[in-house]
């Protein structure tokens, strides 16, 4: 890519990642949540990869990384649901919903935890899809 794209991506990429994390963490307070924030995080990865790296090279090293985080997010969402089950309530019951003050970051019980799990899962999943599609396109071009 050209110097203009690389410079702008270097400035914007980190901010995009931070904004995605913000959307995930504040999902119970402001619009957004795990799905939207995860997509923004994945978009920052895609931007950096398009600007700086060859997709073909990064696919091999990043595949284990993204599949690990995809599985981690999915499993931790189910684990958060099982907390409610083992505490004597229904599966995915909102434990600790009275902890903290409403409208503060620490509030709403398992909702922010589940948002973080979904954010990790969605981000890693979309990144893996991008890698797979990009890598297959490069391989078929040869």
């Amino acid at each position: 890519m050209t110097t203009i794209v690389q410079t702008v991506s270097g400035i914007v990429g980190g901010m995009m990642f931070l904004f995605g994390g913000y959307v995930v963490l504040h999902g119970h307070l402001t619009p957004g949540g795990g799905f939207a924030g995860g997509v923004i995080v994945a978009a920052s990865f895609v931007l950096m990869s398009l600007a700086f790296g060859s997709v073909e090279d990064s696919e091999r090293s990043s595949y284990r990384f993204s599949s690990f985080f995809e599985s981690l997010g999915g499993l931790s969402f189910i684990l958060i649901g099982l907390f409610g089950y083992f505490a004597g309530h229904a599966f995915l019951n909102n434990l600790w919903h009275a902890v903290g003050q409403p409208l503060r970051l620490v509030s709403a019980g398992i909702i922010p935890l589940a948002n973080i799990a979904i954010g990790i899962k969605v981000g890693a999943g979309l990144w893996a899809i991008f890698l797979a599609l990009g890598a297959s396109r490069f391989a078929m071009k040869d």
Partner: protein
């Protein structure tokens, strides 16, 4: 609402036809009739968004089924194998299940609010009591991760399946290309 009862009878009849008919293309069309009746029922109980989703899913399903059937065979593989005496027990069980589902659905229809009364009381409850019951200031987050967390779990599973499918299909092309290049 008498229309719902008409739709219900049509749905059960179409489901029976879909299982029993020997021509697979006709079975796919009957299956589509069940789905489209569900979408009409969604419109009648004022859930147009669900009706649109149902129509899209149903059209895709019927088109896929029809495409597969047109490329393979019309006739069910087990056609004509059953002896008449063996059919009695399945027919009785079939009728019992049809009656059971009809009774369940009639019970559900009785629970529906009468015509003219406001139907959005669930949403009204979420908005008034959501903050107190869940502690989440964002009502959308309160609904998708507390009241309807199962729905979100299903959504996450759908996304996971999509990722696994794309990786399975797309990575194979990449691998084949790379192996071919390496071998030559």
């Amino acid at each position: 609402m008498p229309e719902l009862y008409v739709l219900l009878v049509a749905m059960i009849a179409a489901a029976v036809v879909a299982i029993e008919i020997k021509d697979l293309l006709a079975a796919a069309v009957s299956l589509g009739m069940v789905g489209f009746s569900v979408s009409i029922a969604f419109i009648l109980v004022q859930a147009p968004d669900l009706a649109i989703v149902q129509i899209v899913v149903e059209v895709l399903t019927v088109v896929f089924f029809a495409a597969v059937i047109l490329r393979t065979t019309h006739i069910a593989p087990d056609a004509g194998r059953r002896i008449r005496g063996e059919m009695i027990l399945p027919v009785v069980v079939f009728g019992a299940f049809a009656l059971f589902f009809f009774g369940l659905a009639v019970q559900v229809f009785r629970e529906l609010p009468p015509f003219g009364s406001p139907q959005m009381w669930v949403a009204a409850h979420y908005i008034t009591a959501g903050l107190e019951q869940t502690g989440a200031a964002n009502v959308v987050a309160a609904i998708i991760l507390d009241y309807r967390a199962y729905d979100t779990l299903g959504e996450a599973v759908v996304l996971f399946t999509a990722v696994v499918g794309v990786l399975t299909i797309a990575r194979q092309f990449g691998r084949k290309g790379r192996e071919g290049n390496g071998g030559e």
